[in-house]
């Protein structure tokens, strides 16, 4: 039995609207999209035009810096639209699904392939971007060999799906193959972090070539960034990779069947959803299918991902590349009379200035209101309480704001991702856009280091 790594810092946000563990069959939709903003820092070069026919696995665009990193269509159909934003910056490639042609990349036993052959297959099939690297929490650079690969087998974010449930229901048998692929890519170990005291899905039971770790504690204990920090932190010059467990299955599926198929089991949750269940969905699919007739009354925000780190999308927007849930919460576009002075019986908070701390409820409805105005940093000693890392959050943030690259490096910029700081942003009474600052710091590092 591995020793349990106990984390005390953090916060479980008691958001209402957990999904029931009932899996619904895949809902057919025709609109699919691949969003460029799902890949921070990516400068893309398009390989298709509007009207082009594509198959599942056809290349849509590639990375300008690493042309071998391809991003492919999740389905077959026609490129309906290439959406651009301000200054013609690429936003999304929209595909109208038609037919079911898919490219056969060829099945192969990963144990018999060299590292180059494994990489080539992942790059060619468009599955490479599921591998993300620390530092920077971006798509793994194909040039570097990762010291280790980290996989989180539990998610502690608000209303997060049960990964064991997902793993049990996914069209499976590919997990070990996926692990075998990963073992061929790293010189180090494959670390899987589980929740202490949790059950282990049968798929995981007899897994070989992996090291298990157990974590206990509140969110963000399920974030790979936090787990890496406690298992074997990333120092300057080192690179490690992280990959989602369901994507390990997708990698396995590629090698077992020859096809790019990232079907995943996700949770549809949140107070704005009527029937909160698990769904089978492909990344890129429009969420309109699972949301149809399923939304509560009122002005709602649909989020691909969890409420802390997800992306706001439209009711027919595309399900994000890395996400494992869709959350719907009410918009908070109302004014509250003397809201700051209210005792706060129904207000969940990190802070002990609310009555809800004395008389806690099981769950709370939360909306998107900012609950205050932007201020300078004033309080101290609290951000640390929700960041279980040996890092001084405010000092790091100030170093980023000052653009002091050396100090950022010294204070641990290589170890962090914006998702690790999401709770700091949530509790901040100064309403600072902390995740945005972290990302801008990472972007600055990438620029300075190249």
């Amino acid at each position: 039995m591995p020793t349990v790594i106990k984390l005390r810092k953090g916060l479980n946000i008691k958001l209402a609207g957990k999904a029931e563990k009932i899996l619904l069959p895949e809902v057919a939709v025709t609109r699919f999209g691949v969003r460029f903003t799902d890949f921070p820092g990516l400068v893309a070069r398009l390989e298709v035009q509007e009207g082009d026919r594509v198959m599942a696995g056809s290349v849509l665009f590639h990375d300008k810096a690493f042309p071998e990193v391809k991003y492919v269509s999740p389905v077959s159909g026609v490129v309906r639209e290439i959406i651009r934003g301000e200054k013609r910056v690429l936003v999304e490639v929209v595909i109208e699904q038609e037919g079911s042609e898919k490219i056969d990349f060829g099945a192969a036993d990963p144990l018999k392939l060299t590292r180059e052959e494994l990489m080539a297959k992942l790059l060619q099939s468009g599955l490479w971007p599921v591998l993300r690297q620390r530092p920077y929490h971006i798509v793994a650079s194909p040039g570097a060999v990762p010291r280790d690969i980290f996989i989180s087998a539990f998610d502690t974010a608000p209303l997060a799906p049960d990964i064991d449930f997902a793993l049990t229901n996914i069209h499976g048998g590919h997990l070990q193959t996926g692990i075998n692929v990963l073992s061929g890519l790293t010189t180090g170990k494959i670390h899987i972090s589980e929740e202490a005291g949790g059950s282990r899905a049968t798929e995981m039971m007899n897994l070989k070539n992996v090291v298990f770790h157990q974590f206990s504690g509140p969110h963000p204990a399920g974030n790979t960034g936090i787990q890496i920090h406690h298992i074997a932190p990333v120092s300057k010059g080192e690179v490690v990779w992280t990959v989602d467990l369901q994507d390990v299955v997708a990698i396995g599926r590629l090698f077992d069947t020859g096809f790019h198929d990232r079907e995943r089991i996700i949770a549809l949750a949140g107070p704005g959803v009527l029937h909160r269940k698990y769904h089978r969905i492909k990344p890129g699919a429009s969420v309109s299918g699972i949301l149809k007739g399923n939304l509560a009354e009122g002005n709602l925000r649909i989020i691909s991902g969890n409420v802390l780190t997800g992306k706001k999308i439209s009711p027919d927007g595309s399900f994000g590349f890395y996400d494992n849930m869709v959350t719907v919460i009410p918009e908070g576009d109302y004014s509250e009379f003397l809201g700051w002075a209210e005792p706060g019986l129904k207000k969940f908070s990190y802070w002990r200035t609310f009555v809800s701390k004395l008389i806690p409820r099981k769950e709370y409805v939360m909306d998107t209101n900012l609950h205050g105005g932007h201020r300078a940093f004033v309080v101290s000693g609290h951000y640390e309480n929700v960041l279980p890392m040996d890092i001084y959050p405010v000092h790091l943030l100030k170093a980023i704001i000052a653009g002091d690259v050396e100090l950022m490096e010294n204070l641990g910029i290589y170890e962090v991702a914006e998702e690790d700081f999401a709770l700091c942003e949530y509790i901040d009474p100064s309403k600072t856009e902390i995740q945005e600052i972290i990302r801008s710091g990472i972007n600055l590092m990438i620029k300075e280091m190249n």
Binding site: S235, L308, T327, Y350, R375, A376, S380, N410, G412, E418
Partner: protein, 385 residues
């Protein structure tokens, strides 16, 4: 409230850019957001945010100050009756008398300070910072009751402009603004900030009982007047001369309780500062030196402004050390400095204000060392790997 909200929304365009009152935008915004938490929603980063904001943070501190404020008002009346030999006032009489004397100080402090804050916010195009709501209440509570209002106004203006705004406003200042105001008066008009008369309402104008001295326990200790010092109980309860809000350790402890229960105040600083002062006091008890070193160490905690400083001043999150380890060091050193200044400095009977201001200056240095230790841990990892 919908009616009020509609009215506010209706006049809002007047204060926008190009509107008739655009120069008053910060004022409008300050009042509007005071009345209604605005309908702003998150547009990037976390979609949900905590209900806590700066207004609520500051409100908690103000609530924590209320016991000291109420007792201070009563004590103004009480000290007045003692000095002038009045025997027939009830508790309510004394409180009301004191409250009416204190009210002008509070009003002047808020009007001058908030006025400058509004202007600064307008110039910068920021929202109004709530920090002064606390500072504006702290300042009257650390003044002698007889301080002339114009002096108070000047000191407030000095502290807000020189002490805070030129550094970039709330969150950027190095020195505690309330103590900056007090230090300004202390060095500019020492006659009004020290001595035996200023602590009691009306005594500076004369007319006190013959032989009555308004000396604070600290002054008595300094002048070796130990025999005349009030009992420890009196000092703990606070029926002694002193700055308005500082005398009652009990009232301040109630405030400390509120700050600690809500998590707004730092227990690390309060605890380490208390232990620092107590430790230094005990050390002096053991080593001796002069008569002052021989007073019971715990006297330092209940005399003068120590308790008020430890609970409300040293804990100011902006000017204190920001790292948790740094807070222990900062607090302990502040406590030690208080006692050293009190006992060994020939000029100043009180050391709390100067000790905190001094440590405010050193707080970034303390943090620097703590953060450097973190950096070294990280660098060491690279070297050993």
């Amino acid at each position: 409230m919908n009616f009020l909200l509609k009215r506010m929304k209706k006049i809002e365009p007047l204060f926008e850019k190009g509107g008739r009152f655009e120069k008053l935008h910060s004022v409008y915004d300050g009042f509007a957001t005071f009345l209604f938490v605005p309908d702003k929603v998150t547009y990037r980063g976390s979609h949900i945010r905590d209900h806590m904001d700066m207004k609520r943070t500051m409100t908690v501190v103000i609530i924590a100050l209320i016991p000291a404020l109420l007792f201070g008002s009563y004590n103004i009346g009480l000290q007045h009756t003692r000095a002038f030999g009045i025997n027939d006032w009830t508790l309510m009489n004394m409180f009301w008398f004191g409250f009416l004397k204190l009210l002008p100080l509070i009003i002047v402090s808020y009007v001058v300070g908030l006025g400058i804050e509004f202007i600064a916010a307008q110039i910068r195009g920021h929202e109004i910072n709530e920090g002064y709501l606390v500072t504006g209440m702290l300042i009257p509570l650390i003044m002698p009751i007889d301080v002339p209002l114009w002096m108070l106004a000047v000191s407030v203006a000095f502290s807000v402009i020189i002490g805070k705004e030129i550094f970039g406003g709330t969150g950027m200042n190095i020195l505690n603004p309330a103590l900056t105001a007090r230090a300004f008066l202390f060095f500019s008009y020492p006659g009004w900030m020290t001595g035996d008369a200023v602590w009691i309402e009306g005594l500076t104008k004369g007319g006190g009982l013959d032989g009555f001295s308004g000396a604070t326990p600290l002054a008595l200790a300094k002048l070796d007047g130990f025999s005349q010092m009030p009992s420890a109980m009196e000092m703990f309860i606070g029926t002694i001369p002193g700055s308005v809000g500082e005398t009652s350790t009990v009232a301040i402890l109630i405030g400390a309780f509120i700050l600690l229960v809500t998590g707004v105040g730092s227990w690390r600083i309060m605890l380490s500062m208390t232990l620092g002062a107590l430790g230094m006091g005990l050390l002096l008890n053991a080593t001796g030196g002069n008569e002052y070193t021989q007073i019971p160490a715990y006297y330092h905690l209940i005399m003068g402004g120590f308790a008020f400083g430890a609970v409300f001043m040293a804990t100011d999150p902006v000017t204190a050390a920001q790292t948790n380890t740094g807070k222990y060091i900062y607090g302990a050193l502040t406590g030690i400095m208080v006692v050293i200044i009190r006992v060994f400095n020939p000029a100043y009977p009180e050391g709390t204000m100067l000790a905190i201001l001094l440590m405010n200056v050193f707080a970034p240095l303390i943090d620097h060392f703590v953060v450097n230790a973190n950096i070294n841990r990280r660098l060491k990892r690279v070297k050993t790997a």
